[in-house]
Amino acid sequence: MIHDFNYLKPGSLKEALSMLAEHKDECKVICGGQSLLIVMRQGMVTPEYLLDIKHLEELNYISFDAKDGLKLGATTTHREIEKSDVIAKNYPVLVAMENKLASIQTRNWGTIGGNLAHADPAGDPGPVLIALKGSVKVGSASEERVFPLDEFFVDYFATQKNDDELILEIQVPVPEPKTGTAYQKFNLLDSDMGIVASAVSVTLNNDGTCKDARIVLGNAGPVPIRVKRAEELLVGKKYDEALFAEAGKIASEDCEPVADIHASEAQRRHVAGVYTKRMLKKAWEQAMA
C-alpha cells in the first residue's frame, strides 16, 4: 500500500527547484512514475513530499543540430524518443533500444529522465547512452552540473545527483563519421528487462582500423559497466571475428553480475561475452557501411 505523502505540483521548473531545495531528502521526484510507484506500493520508498514534474513542458523537448548533437528534456517520454524522426535518422540505436523498453503503455507515460534517475542497473537507456558518449545535465536552485553518463551512476539505484537536484537534460554528441553503435539485451520475453545486455559503439579510421570503441554492459553489476580492457584491445585493430571473440571473453571476465532465479552468475558472464562479441561485429559492420 502506498503511504500518504504531500503532493507538490510546481508551476515552473524554477518553482520545482526551490521546492526541492526546501524539502531535499524528505522529497521524492515523480515524473512518469512507472518504476517509482511500484517501489512506493511495496513500501520501500515512503517520501514525506512527492514533487510532480511530469507536466513541466519546459523539460519536454527533443532538439538536434549538427554541432551540439542531441538534447533531450528530462520529461521527454520513451515513446517520443522512439517515434522521433530526427533521432531515427541520427541515432537509430536509441530508437531500437526504446522499442524494446518495457511495453508501449510504459513508454507512453515513462520518461527518459525518470529512467536515468531511478538508476536501475537493468535499465536500457544507460548503457546505450554511455556507448554514445552521452552526458546528463542536473540542476539545483543554485547551480547546474553536467556529468558524462559513465560517471553518473554510482551504485544500485544511486547516482551523483544530490537530493536538491533534478535531471534537466540528456545530451548526446554527434557521432563521428564511420561510427556504428549496436545494443541488445538477453531475455526470455521480448519486453523484459535484460538478464544481461551489451551496448557497443565503434569508430573506424579511413583505413578501416578501429579508432575508438566503447563497450558497455547492462545489468552486469551495480551500474552499467564499461569494459575498458576490451575497448583498448580494439584500438588500431582491423575487422576480425577472433578479435571480437577475444573482446567478448574480456567482457565476461570484467563484469560483476549477481546470480538470481533467472540466471546464474556463470550464465550471465557467458552471455555478456556472447552478446558483446555479436554487438561488436554488428557495430563494426555498421561503421564500415
Binding site: D4, Q34, S103, Q105
Partner: protein, 161 residues
C-alpha cells in the same frame, strides 16, 4: 495530507472527485466512478488489465497517479461504443472469439484501439500488432485470435461500405 479536487473527463463525461493524492488512476476509474470494466491483475505494472487510453495514448492506469491526469480525457472499455453501436475492434473481437474469460479484454481492447488509431491508414505487420499488445497478458487465448481481430480491422474489413 489534504485531499485534492481532481477534474478529469472519462468516456466523454466531465467528473470532479476529491482524492488523496496517492490515489491511482485505476482507483478513481473503478472505485470512485464505478467503471469496473477496467481490471487489475497485478501490483507490478506487468499485466495490462488496467490499460486505459489518455487521449489516444494507452497507459496502465495502475501506474499513473490520478492527480497527473488533471484535465485530461480518459477512455475505458465502457467508452468504446457510441450510442449502443460497438466499435470496429469490439466487433472484430466478437467475430474472432478474441477473448475467453474476458478479464484482460477491456485492457486488451484499449491497447488495440490505441495501436489502430496510431497507425490509421498505415499497414500493420503481424509483428507490429504483437508488439502493440505486448504489455497486456492474456492467459486464455494465446493471443493469436486477438492478433487476427486487430489485423482484420487494420485491413479495413470493418469499414462502412
Amino acid at each position: 495530507m489534504e485531499k485534492r479536487l481532481l477534474k478529469l473527463s472519462v468516456n466523454g463525461e466531465k467528473y470532479e472527485v476529491y482524492i488523496n493524492p496517492k490515489t491511482l488512476l485505476v482507483e478513481v476509474i473503478r472505485d470512485h466512478l464505478g467503471f469496473t470494466g477496467t481490471k487489475r491483475g497485478c501490483e507490478t505494472v506487468s499485466c495490462g488489465a488496467c490499460t486505459v487510453n489518455i487521449g489516444d495514448m494507452s497507459v496502465k492506469s495502475c501506474s499513473v497517479l490520478a492527480v497527473q491526469v488533471e484535465g485530461l480525457n480518459v477512455t475505458t472499455a465502457e467508452g468504446l461504443e457510441k450510442d449502443g453501436k460497438l466499435s470496429d475492434v469490439q466487433v472484430a473481437f466478437l467475430d474472432q472469439g478474441a477473448y475467453q474469460c474476458g478479464f484482460c479484454t477491456s485492457g486488451m481492447l484499449m491497447s488495440a484501439t490505441a495501436l489502430l488509431k496510431e497507425n490509421e491508414g498505415k499497414t500493420l505487420t503481424e509483428h507490429q500488432i504483437r508488439e502493440g499488445i505486448e504489455g497486456n497478458i492474456c492467459r486464455c487465448t494465446g493471443y493469436n485470435s486477438i492478433v487476427r481481430a486487430i489485423d482484420a480491422v487494420a485491413q479495413g474489413k470493418y469499414k462502412e461500405a
